[in-house]
């Protein structure tokens, strides 16, 4: 199918984009990589009146890692995936990106776009949540920072206001004791996850978990943290398989729904298996 008619503005600065969003409100949509928005427009599930194309905004696609990993909103997923600096400082970001759709989609898809779109089954929002990251949004009144824990509000819904543009994504650079893992179940390679998990665990020199963030995706209206899983890990050795199994079992209590792709029971079991696998990866340390 073909998209409905719309007006189009290719802006060159963030200020221009914000001004247009402020002026046109809900009618306007930001166009970044277009890998989620344009399919919705082609299917006429979205019919924005104005597209604000931010692809030509200079400097919005930066990739930097100096104590904190800072990714510009229009940084292409493929470029971040291949960045040695990101691989060293935020390996979970790379691991998540490798599961985002297909290489040819990642060549065009952006970091900011995937997070702002907030598909509940998408990898990057869960990675951001597991790493305790944040986003920087610019609106008419200036910039503000939104923690991942406060960003995702529901199906395809974030705390971003209609006149705000997500400009940067930040995650802390991995400390030496950080252990990470991610896995998901999908019908075929590149499909959205039926269930998935991303974990980031800080261990001390003895291997004891000091803190843990366990995020699951594809099982609720947004990526969510499993508090019971995190509590099961803290204070116990990550190498303790019983602790990891207990953490994974927390997913069995998820209040999830079945749909045409998978039943609620399947999703809970799969989420638990993915938490178990992600924690096993974290334990092996290779993934860091």
């Amino acid at each position: 199918m073909k998209p409905a008619s719309f007006r189009y503005a290719a802006v060159e600065t963030v200020d221009e984009a914000v001004a247009l969003l402020a002026e046109h409100g809900d009618e306007a949509k930001v166009l970044a990589g277009g890998q989620s928005l344009v399919p919705l427009m082609n299917l006429r599930l979205a019919e924005p009146g104005l597209l604000v194309d931010v692809n030509r905004v200079a400097g919005l696609d930066g990739i930097a890692a100096n104590g904190v990993v800072e990714l510009g909103a229009t940084a292409r997923q493929a470029d971040v995936e291949r960045s040695p600096a990101v691989a060293a400082a935020a390996p979970l970001v790379v691991r998540g990106l490798q599961r985002v759709a297909y290489p040819t989609v990642r060549a065009r898809g952006t970091i900011g776009g995937s997070i702002a779109h907030a598909d509940p089954a998408a990898e990057l929002p869960a990675v951001l949540l597991a790493l305790g990251g944040e986003v920087v949004a610019r609106g008419p009144g200036g910039e503000r920072t939104i923690a991942a824990d406060d960003l995702f509000r529901g199906y395809f819904t974030t705390a971003l206001a209609p006149d705000e543009l997500l400009v940067r994504v930040r995650v802390p650079a991995a400390a030496p004791g950080l252990r990470v893992g991610l896995d998901e179940v999908a019908r075929k390679q590149g499909d959205f996850a039926l269930a998935g998990a991303a974990v980031a665990v800080e261990v001390d020199e003895a291997g004891t978990c000091r803190s843990a963030r366990v995020a699951v995706f594809g099982v609720a209206d947004r990526p969510i943290r499993l508090a019971a899983a995190e509590q099961a890990l803290v204070g116990r050795p990550l190498a303790d398989a019983a602790a990891r199994d207990e953490a994974a079992a927390a997913a069995l209590a998820l209040d999830t729904r079945g749909d045409g792709h998978a039943s609620a029971e399947y999703r809970r079991e799969a989420a638990a298996a993915m938490v178990r696998r992600a924690l096993a990866q974290a334990t092996d340390g290779g993934a860091r």
Binding site: M1, K2, P3, A4, S5, F6, R7, Y8, A9, A10, V11, E12, E16, L20, L31, G34, Q35, V38, P39, N42, L43, L50, L51, D53, N55, R56, R76, A78, A101, Y102, P103, T104, V105, A107, R108, K188, Q189, G190
Partner: protein, 167 residues
Amino acid sequence: MSGRILDGETVVRLVVNGEERRAIAEPRLLLSDFLRHELGLTGTHVGCEQGVCGACTVRVDGRPVRSCLLFAVQADGCRVETVEGLAPGEELHPLQRAFQRHHALQCGYCTSGFLLASLDLLEREPDPDEATIRAHLAGNVCRCTGYQTIVAAVVAAAAELRGEARA
């Protein structure tokens, strides 16, 4: 185009396979339809029009993209490569020859997308293993071949492009 809102038709100028081309497009015209209907380059095929099948894959400024997910106005000023530009002259590109030799197509609908996606892989990774090829082509759907022959063709073309045996 910056600084103003485009409402209606405009002239889109781009370089397709090394040749400067221009045509009229309204904002909602997809690059895939622009190439086919406005420029007459029907080698780029349109399958699902929702970014799933990969049939419409072209390269824009050196990057593989699904041309059904890019508006023609976005490609203004860009360099576009389509399947028509693969073979330099009368002789097929090594990838095309390998697809022919290995029966990597039947109906041919998906082929131009596979060729462009494969070209992108081989330019970055001249000697990919089978798993890498399969992962890279996971976003391209073929309903005829079962993929085995496509993978074999890419392996053979890679060898030829590295200067080894002719595919």
